[in-house]
């Protein structure tokens, strides 16, 4: 899709950019005021007009004149070291490097003359004199810029010979699982070093030595694996030779075709080119045209894809009568008939409401929509929920109440215009690494940073980035902190009175102002509660309120609390109070955990809402669905996941269809969940692996990975992107096809030829999706909803002129302390989170080489707390809460504050959720994962639960093996 530059369209220059082409240097940033001033020049007798600040190299590339280059690539700033891109400029002496020379009005440039040709050939000759001539056996053969440029400049001989001192036999660094560093093929262009700095912001690489001694080193002259490298792969992508090369390409050779698709890890929703040979995936290369990631990736998205073809994949449907029985492999028909018969029998015996379903935030919008449709239409109740229940359901409630729509307000690119960034209860460098990289670049250019987190997350202090304030509050006190900040802003008159007067509901605001002004909400009053000195709170509040553009980014450290919904409303209040909503650089930005958690919520996965967040009790909302689906929909909400567990233990809930979700590992109070699952008479699990939940199941339907199906994911910025099938489903059916089969077996007819048809139905029934179709997605690449007649190209920024609910609503946000308090018996607070290399329950990432970065979950504990308990680093410790016990290895670190311990939940045997309790958000029942009172002490062995689980797991694996034999 080569496109030529059209000056008529110059203002919209980015829209004509071909993401497959390397323009040599990046476009002038949108936050650079020069980006709107255009200058005209002549290059090789062609006229071109480009924004001031653009390089001559890029201007030439825009009119398809491609100046040879080696050290330049358009993901990083120009460096001017390789001297291949020299051009002649009329009236100037000598030759200019076209990458570092910017355009000026009226310049006349020649990119190719006889003299330039000689110069370039001489430069190439020097490069090649110290480069192995093993092109035919080189991993980069056919994908090597050095090879290409040698061809372009017409290099025919190397007069210096190859006998002199050289770097040809330097030892390779093969320490890394995903790529190899071969210094012998390095031309020291420093593209890797600059990619590490300018794209990823990790500063793990450097050029060591000078002149002939110059070499690329990782860390303090370490192996890649031992350095602070985060394996994002930006260096590998930037390398113009085979010096940094994916091991998969070294092993298999270059891919022969590629398909653009969307990553199935976190809520950033990066766009990737899946590069294949036949149906074998060779590598994932982040797609430059992806509007969420702009060609960047993290270690998970780029490298951790081997799980998709792991030998643990279960590819045949299985059934059994009891969880004590071995499994029996059956065909799809028999499996869905068995499941349907059981579901109908249960409903006959226990009532229509005794069954339900859980939709998956890892599946596509179309699949999620079908599961909730199956529950509402075929099961005949509203007992459908999704894993957002346990992560961002408070975001849905809080933002709907205050702003009118259950979604973030911005694009990721909006951060480029933020002057003050507040990160609360989120750890972007670990959980949303690609967005974190973009945020870091903005911080490096001067934006201020406020971090509110009980732990010292990497953003608080990392190379060249340091937070202005780290409010290391005690777990469970977000509302107290946010109220205190608002108190300062109101009492010091720092609010944006005009915005509040014009855009917000006045009686509600007045009531809120009275509430927030009360002394009990002051920083002085809240200092003891939050553990942060009053001055710090006040200073952070002032910084936030006085910024031109201030943006709040938050994650599960806000939502997963007994006051999760209240904290979300506090955040919306702060944004409205300071007028930071409705334009770029500001806003309320929930960082979503799973790839399609926004989408699964949009698609009507909550038991009280039909697609598009519309309540089931409203007749006019139900009517079009009832007509289209040919059923009557219950006008009462259904059970949420925790309510399902309670009802199962009571004996009123007996059947569950669980797609792509591992509730036995991910949900809190594991022993309670296990008891509920054991009480079910029909548990249907659909997953790519035999996960923890499947151990309690009666029907197993093989799931399909994101590579095996078509559909769409919606990321945290409401961006709908295509997921494209690159290989056949290993289990024979894509997930949507499995749901269709189950619905038909239940006697509810579903006929879809493709996910595109399902999206058409969604668009027909959902006002905010009215304009969405696969055709439009093909044309635009991606679309941010709402997309309808009023916004045919989608809506990057929400609430621009008015809020979705009309006037913004200030909710009174009283701080109510959680019941989960430290006591003599449980004197520490446990908080949980995730790390960079692993994803959620780890089912995917544990089955990749990522495992080497995190072989087990550990308990972070402060040195003081460790000393008090006689705990040494690496000791096995028992962690006990009022609901359970588990044993983990201790890691002593002052990253956590005294009184706080931290762990992750990526390994099932860790049992992190054996300790977490049934406490939940008051409004949504989102569990309080982030606050559990615990005691820690040295342990001699694993806990009882861990021993029992090991036995049970072993037995269940035997049952699976019996099915296969």
């Amino acid at each position: 899709m080569l496109k030529t530059y059209d000056p008529k369209n110059a203002a919209g220059i980015n829209s004509t950019i071909d993401p497959e082409k390397d323009y040599g240097t990046p476009a002038v940033r949108i936050d650079d005021e020069r980006s709107t001033i255009f200058v005209g020049l002549t290059i090789d007798a062609q006229q071109v007009s480009v924004p001031r600040g653009t390089s001559i190299m890029r201007a030439a590339a825009l009119i398809n004149i491609n100046v040879p280059k080696l050290c330049a690539t358009d993901s990083i700033q120009a460096f001017g070291s390789c001297r291949l891109c020299l051009v002649e400029i009329e009236g100037r002496k000598g030759f200019s490097a076209s990458c570092t020379t910017t355009v000026e009005e009226g310049l006349v440039v020649r990119t190719q003359t006889d003299q330039i040709a000689v110069l370039r050939r001489n430069v190439m000759e020097l490069y090649i004199s110290d480069h192995p001539l093993d092109c035919l056996t080189c991993a980069a053969n056919g994908d090597c810029e050095l090879q290409d440029v040698a061809g372009e400049v017409g290099l025919r001989e190397v007069r210096y010979g190859f006998e002199g001192e050289n770097h040809l036999n330097v030892e390779k660094d093969t320490s890394h699982s995903y790529f190899t560093f071969d210094p012998g093929k390095c031309i020291v262009c420093s593209r890797c070093v600059r990619a590490c700095e300018e794209v990823q912001g990790t500063y793990a690489l450097t050029v060591d030595g000078r002149g002939f001694e110059s070499k690329i080193v990782a860390g303090q002259n370490e192996k890649f694996m031992g350095s602070e490298c985060v394996a994002c792969g930006a260096c590998v992508q930037a390398c113009p030779t085979a010096s940094l090369m994916e091991n998969s390409v070294i092993d298999q050779g270059l891919p022969e075709h590629s398909v653009v698709t969307t990553c199935a890890y976190c809520g950033v929703g990066c766009s990737f080119k899946a590069e294949l040979k036949g149906d074998q995936l060779v590598r994932m290369v982040p797609f430059k045209g992806g509007k969420a990631n702009h060609g960047h990736s993290c270690v998970k998205g780029r490298f951790a894809f081997a799980y998709a073809t792991h030998s643990d994949r279960v590819t045949s449907p299985m059934i059994r009568n009891s969880i004590d029985d071995p499994w029996r492999q059956v065909g799809w028909n028999e499996a869905v008939t068995f499941a349907a018969t059981r579901i109908r029998d249960i409903q006959k015996q226990y009532g229509r409401n005794s069954v339900g379903g859980i939709t998956s935030s890892r599946c596509t919008n179309e699949e999620t929509y079908l599961v909730q449709k199956l529950v509402r239409a075929a099961f005949g109740n509203n007992n459908v929920d999704t894993c957002a229940r346990v992560c961002h359901s408070p975001t849905g409630y809080g933002l709907k109440t205050t702003l009118g729509e259950s979604a973030g307000t911005q694009t990721f690119d909006s951060v480029e215009k933020a002057d003050v960034i507040m990160v609360i209860g989120a750890n972007p460098t670990d959980a949303h690494p690609v967005f974190a990289a973009q945020m870091k670049q903005r911080l490096l250019r001067g934006a201020k940073l406020i971090v509110a987190d009980p732990r010292r997350i990497d953003l608080v202090r990392s190379p060249h980035v340091e937070s202005d304030y780290h409010l290391n509050l005690l777990p469970g006190t977000n509302v107290a902190l946010l109220n205190a900040m608002a108190h300062v802003i109101v009492s010091e008159g720092l609010e944006d009175g005009e915005f509040v007067a014009n855009r917000c509901e006045q009686p509600a605001f007045e009531r809120w102002r009275k509430f927030i002004s009360e002394p009990r909400n002051s920083p002085d009053a809240m200092a003891a509660v939050t553990g942060i000195v009053a001055n710090e709170i006040a200073a952070a509040a002032r910084l936030f309120a006085t910024a031109k553009n201030a943006a709040i980014y938050y994650g599960l450290g806000v939502t997963e609390h007994s006051q999760g919904s209240t904290a979300v409303m506090c955040i919306a209040n702060l944004a409205m109070l300071t007028g930071n909503i409705g334009r770029e650089g500001v806003g309320v930005n929930p960082l979503r955990g799973q790839n399609n958690v926004q989408g699964s919520c949009d698609m009507g996965s909550f038991p009280h809402e039909l697609p598009g967040y519309r309540h089931v009790s409203i007749d006019s909302v139900r009517k079009p669905f009832e007509e289209h689906w040919g059923v009557t929909i219950d006008n009462e909400p259904g059970l949420r996941i925790p309510n399902m567990f309670d009802a199962a233990i009571s004996g009123n809930f007996k059947g569950l269809y669980c797609q792509g979700e591992d509730i036995a590992q991910s949900d809190p109070d594991t022993q309670h969940v296990e008891e509920a699952l054991r009480n079910l008479e029909c548990l249907i699990v659909q997953d790519i692996f035999f996960n923890e939940t499947a151990k309690f199941a009666h029907v197993f339907l093989p799931g399909a990975s994101f590579l095996e199906k078509d559909g769409t994911f919606t990321n945290a910025e409401r961006r709908i992107s295509r997921v494209r099938k690159v290989m056949a489903p290993l289990g024979g059916k894509a997930d949507w096809e499995a749901t269709v089969a189950l619905a038909n077996a239940l006697g509810y007819e579903m006929n879809y030829e493709s996910p595109s048809e399902i999206m058409d139905e969604i668009a027909e029934l959902t006002p905010t999706f009215k304009g969405v179709s696969f055709e439009l997605l093909e044309e635009k690449g991606s679309i941010q909803w709402p997309c309808n007649d009023e916004a045919p190209d989608g809506t990057p920024i929400m609430h621009v002129d008015e809020f979705v609910r009309g006037d913004g609503f200030f909710a009174v946000t009283e701080y109510v302390a959680t019941d989960e308090k430290v006591t003599k018996r449980y004197p520490l607070l446990l908080t949980t989170g995730r790390i960079l290399s692993q994803y959620n329950v780890g089912a995917q990432t544990r089955r990749t080489e990522n495992i080497q970065w995190h072989v087990e979950d550990v308990l972070e504990i402060h040195p003081h707390d460790a000393q008090d308990r006689g705990v040494n680093d690496g000791d096995l410790v028992q962690v006990s809460s009022r609901v359970g016990q588990t044993a983990l290895r201790a890691e002593i670190t002052d990253r956590v504050q005294p009184g706080v311990v931290y762990t992750t939940f990526h390994h099932p045997e860790s049992g992190a959720n054996v300790i977490t309790t049934d406490n939940s958000d008051w409004a949504t029942n989102c569990p309080e994962y982030k606050v559990t009172a615990v005691q820690v002490g040295r342990a001699a062995q694993r806990s009882n639960w861990q021993s029992k689980r090991a036995l049970f797991s072993e037995q269940q694996i035997l049952h699976v093996n019996e099915a296969e034999s």
Binding site: N383, S617, E636, G638, L639, S650, N652, V816, W922
Partner: protein, 73 residues
């Protein structure tokens, strides 16, 4: 119905009563609106029955909200 289910429902309802007053003055009504929006018929019925038979663990606003539960006998 298990005692744990009722225990959870009582806890949830009291928590709503503690938190729900985001705007209006009638706390019980706010509780009822919230419950009607998010609770199933059976959850409401279970608590309503408890309120009729005992109700001692419910906070006043929670108890007063019960009569405003929709579709509950």
């Amino acid at each position: 119905m298990s005692s744990i289910e009722l225990e959870h429902l009582i806890k949830m309802l009291n928590q709503i009563a503690d938190n729900v007053l985001i705007a209006d003055e009638d706390e019980a009504q706010c509780v009822a609106i919230h419950v009607n929006k998010f609770w199933t018929r059976s959850m409401k019925e279970t608590v309503a029955q408890y309120a009729r038979e005992d109700g001692s663990e419910l906070k006043p606003a929670a108890l007063n909200a019960v009569s405003m539960f929709r579709n509950v006998n």
